[in-house]
């Protein structure tokens, strides 16, 4: 059984339907990526899973249906959604941002350890732990967002376009650390990304989303070899 199973997911904004029956699954301990062009419904997919948007269809997490659940309940069940735009608490300190990430937890000691571990992954954040998060650079805010997600000690980490607005060198750094986290901690990750090369570099399994439908899926390794993908998304 997959950790996250989504089938026939439909969602949208007001009268506009964005997702038209999306189905995919994320296996425990793996990194799944959804990539596709702008406006395909990538962000909408994550929002529908985490309960930010109303949805129709089946969403099962660890064997339990979470369709229709509120975002706070979904978070408490162990899904950390790092939203597009990073969801930074700009006026609070870096440490407070991380504390908010672990808000649902009751193990104070474990949280302190996790915070130190986040600072090991992202040393830039450690230097600025008492500064207002709004003063961090875009890259640092992205790191903070990932760290905030980790503080939940999630069973599933959902990342929305971690590369958005970052310089290539920073993007590489963030994805390098994501690879370490996924490898070392066996973290299950659902990554949504416009940059197919980045997504396929990190993922075990990948889905291509176009105009609200999954048009292609497969092992990330094989996907890289596929001609259609190469032409459309990798720019060969």
């Amino acid at each position: 059984m997959s950790l996250l199973e989504v089938s026939d997911l439909e969602a949208g904004y007001g009268d506009v339907t964005v997702l038209r029956g999306v189905s995919f699954a994320v296996e425990e301990g793996q990194v799944a990526a959804i990539f596709g062009p702008n406006g395909a419904g990538k962000t909408t997919t994550l929002k529908a899973v985490s309960g930010v948007l109303r949805q129709r269809g089946r969403v099962t997490f660890a064997g339990k249906s979470i369709a229709g659940a509120s975002p706070e309940r979904v978070a408490r069940m162990g899904i950390a959604h790092v939203p597009e735009g990073r969801g930074t608490f700009a006026e609070l300190t870096v440490e407070d941002n991380l504390r908010i990430g672990g808000y649902r937890r009751r193990d104070g000691e474990g949280m302190r350890q996790d915070m130190e571990r986040c600072f090991e992954y992202f040393p830039q954040l450690a230097e600025r732990r008492r500064q207002r998060a709004g003063n961090l650079s875009g890259g640092e805010q992205q790191m903070l967002a990932v760290a905030r997600g980790l503080m939940l000690r999630p069973r599933l980490l959902m990342l929305d376009e971690p590369s958005l607005g970052l310089a290539p060198v920073l993007t590489k750094e963030v994805f390098g650390i994501l690879g370490t986290i996924a490898g070392e901690e066996g973290m299950t990750v659902l990554l949504v990304e416009q940059n197919a090369r980045l997504a396929l570099g990190l993922a075990d399994y990948a889905y291509v989303l176009e105009a609200g439908c999954i048009v292609l899926s497969g092992e990330a390794k094989q996907m890289k070899e596929e001609q259609a993908v190469q032409q459309t998304y990798l720019g060969f």
Partner: protein, 293 residues
């Protein structure tokens, strides 16, 4: 000299009361973006509850504590029932709802307790002490001390407790708070409860200096809005300092500027509001956005 010291100390004391109500206004504005025009009436209603308890022979200290508890629950109920449905809608809608709440509480208090003027006892002894050669009322010093204690407690609550962290998180970014498992609705309820409690304390402290009737907080609310505007509408610290400035200015003006006297005192806060909005709309301590996109 004595008169000056008395005027200033008394100004700080009454300014602390404006500051307390301003603090309640600021707490709600920060977390919800709502300017709560009913804050004064909520305080008035709470003070009447305390008065009712006193009529039922409850000792003053106990009546105050019970009233604060009731105000907390009442504030939470108001958020849940009246504010929740319009939360996040445009400022005009929310302003109209709090104005409606203003009228509702005012009429309800009149219906329950009548429109007569009552007297309300002070929780401080009617005594005075020597300060730099001037006689200063114990009440004045007590009010200032109590306000400082409230500010200290609120600081600890917001900076050191988990619920305080949630309130700050929700006021900065409710959407992202939800994704971390924070229940926004429950957090805002608690925020309204705390604000109602601070306002109730202000009402209980002000009532002995004025008379208790259904409209006694109306004027005070204007002074508090002036304090909050001066301090910067989203700064609790600013609300308190703003209250002091308004209180002292008002007292000095009515004592030393002949044509102002006690009749034109209300000009002071209105002038301050106008001046702040013209010269420095974000107030003394209000935040300018510093977020980097």
């Amino acid at each position: 000299m004595e008169e000056l010291i008395q005027t200033i100390v008394d100004g700080v004391a009454i300014g602390s009361l404006y500051g307390a109500l301003a603090l309640a206004v600021v707490l709600i504005f920060r977390s919800t973006g709502i300017v709560n025009f009913a804050q004064g009436e909520m305080a008035m209603f709470s003070t009447f509850v305390a008065w009712g308890l006193l009529q039922a022979d409850v000792p003053l200290g106990l009546a105050v504590v019970m009233t604060l508890g009731i105000a907390f629950l009442g504030g939470m109920a108001i958020e849940r029932i009246l504010i929740r449905p319009v939360e996040g809608s445009d400022p005009l809608t929310m302003a109209v709802v709090t104005l409606g709440l203003f009228i509702l509480l005012n009429s309800a208090a009149g219906w329950i307790w009548g429109f007569e003027t009552r007297s309300f006892p002070s929780i401080f002894p009617d005594d005075s002490v020597q300060l730099a050669g001037a006689d200063v009322a114990v009440e004045s010093l007590g009010i200032v001390a109590l306000l400082l204690a409230v500010v200290g407690l609120l600081y600890l609550l917001f900076q050191r407790t988990k619920i305080g962290l949630a309130v700050r998180a929700v006021s900065v970014n409710p959407e992202s708070s939800r994704l971390s498992g924070i229940s926004v609705g429950r957090t805002l309820m608690i925020g309204w409860g705390i604000a109602a409690m601070v306002g109730a304390l202000a009402g209980i402290l002000i009532a002995p200096r004025l008379f208790l009737d259904v409209n006694f907080m109306g004027g005070v609310l204007i002074y508090s809005f002036a304090a909050a505007t001066l301090g910067g509408f989203d700064s609790p610290f600013g609300a308190v300092v703003g209250g002091w400035v308004i209180g002292v200015t008002e007292n000095l003006a009515s004592t030393y500027v002949d044509f102002i006297g006690s009749d034109l005192k209300i000009l002071v806060p209105l002038t301050v509001i106008l001046a702040v909005l013209l010269i420095r709309p974000s107030g003394l301590f209000g935040s300018h956005e510093v977020a980097r996109a």
